[in-house]
Amino acid sequence: MSIDLETAAKVAKLARIRVDEDALPALAQEFNTILGFIEQLGEVDVTGVEPMTSVTPQRLKRRDDVVTEGDQQDKILSNAPDAREGFFAVPKVVE
């Protein structure tokens, strides 16, 4: 499997990272090196093997569905690049 420029551009788009057109060939080359390394996994016989979901056999704890630390609007907004009137502010999304 080899990554072409179109696939590299598509991956960058999916990852929401802007990559300049002229940086795509080097990026595709790096992907190919890494994927070439990963290809070895194809040698392993994984017939009947379950994919791992949890490395330590434990049942995830459940907790009561209650508010434990609510009412902290100021704290939550304190690190926002742009907050207005108690909300996160972003560029216009809907025309």
Partner: protein, 495 residues
Amino acid sequence: MTDLNRLTISDARDALRKGDVTSVELTEACLSAVQGAGALNAFVHDTPDLARAQAQAADARIAQGDAPAMCGIPLGIKDLFCTRGVPSQAASRILEGFTPEYESTVTQNLFDAGAVMLGKLNMDEFAMGSSNETSCYGNVVNPWRRGNDEAALTPGGSSGGSASAVAADLCLAATGTDTGGSIRQPAAFTGITGIKPTYGRCSRWGVVAFASSLDQAGPMTKTVRDSAIMLGAMCGHDPKDSTSADIPVPDFEAMLTGDIKGKVIGIPKEYRMDGMPDEIEQLWADGTAMLKDAGADIRDISLPHTKYALPAYYVIAPAEASSNLARYDGVRYGHRAKLAQGDGITEMYEKTRAEGFGHEVQRRVMVGTYVLSAGFYDAYYNRARKVRTLIKRDFEEVFAAGIDAILTPATPSAAFGLGEMTDADPVQMYLNDVFTVTVNLAGLPGIAVPAGTDKQGLPLGLQLIGRPWDEGDLLNTAYALEQAAGFVAKPAKWW
């Protein structure tokens, strides 16, 4: 007492309890060591006011006779831990200006035990790297040098600031985190001890996430005893992390008897790599002989899927990273790119992430995006998770056959020069983690112990891998190895 910053945790604790020294004195000694060590670039956000206040509180507590082992001990904290009111940016531009409103559970546990924070430590960006060259703060420099050669060496990564700071006696100990070897590899490169506990031992709450199924915090210390003391204070069940284990934390230090008679130590043949330097081979053989002399029973074992650990890791870790790092969108915290007229929300995401993430992080996020994308999910991600099951099974089988711990080299080489790997392809850098990454994939505890030096006088480490939840026994085996190896070398101060 002179050079208080050079003390171990255990010696400092004893001196504090006897009243021979105060935490304020210890803290001042460390703060001036930090001040004088700018050339190492280990500390990136100093918190002297907080440190002094914590030290005074610790002294008051010690005076009242209520002093846990970590009370009054000055520490460095890796920048990956969120610390309330103190910049916590995972060495990334994208978290520039971020000051958390909350405290990570691990640092809270340490503060509850009376520990003192000197400041935040440099690291690879988002813990992605093995040489501390991907940090937005610039490279960390290893206090060790090759003899009289002044070339700057890497302290390893990603916990490179932690390793450099402990090795240079800027603090008594430091926190680290380990996703593929990020505690153990830098510990080995700087001649200190570092343990990655069993997955679930330390809470991940408030630790900036890289790969959630692999990440674990742990201590980086001057001795095995110090690791036992500090790990005990860091870990424990936390309702805020659903993968945190609700099991008792034993007194790890009390388990350090040094007696390993009859313990069965496995030597895995798959860790003998082609092209491994003779010095590493020799160190491994020496370590094996030391454990044998201490009364352990040495057995050759096989972990047949070892070869596939690194490729499986480089599917699973980037996949989880691409998901975890999706939160950096320029909306809730950190950096937001300046937008051009007419830019919408998609441009905001794309420009923010291009400006905020460094090259290695971008690459891993995109690799992760690719292996999770439609059409490749089964071929890459699911296959890697199946291989992970097999890697864990390899360990389960040898433990079931009576192996108590496994001895391996910690790294395939000594510390290399900063910039030496710049032109290598990314896979060459990934090979640094070849001996450590299996342990993360299997969720096991692993410890790096300094055991010797190479021809140029650089430290080399050995790794011991233990059964899940058996850190106490693992630390005791490491303690026996430490005593036999008698590694006491320190870097000559040049900074």
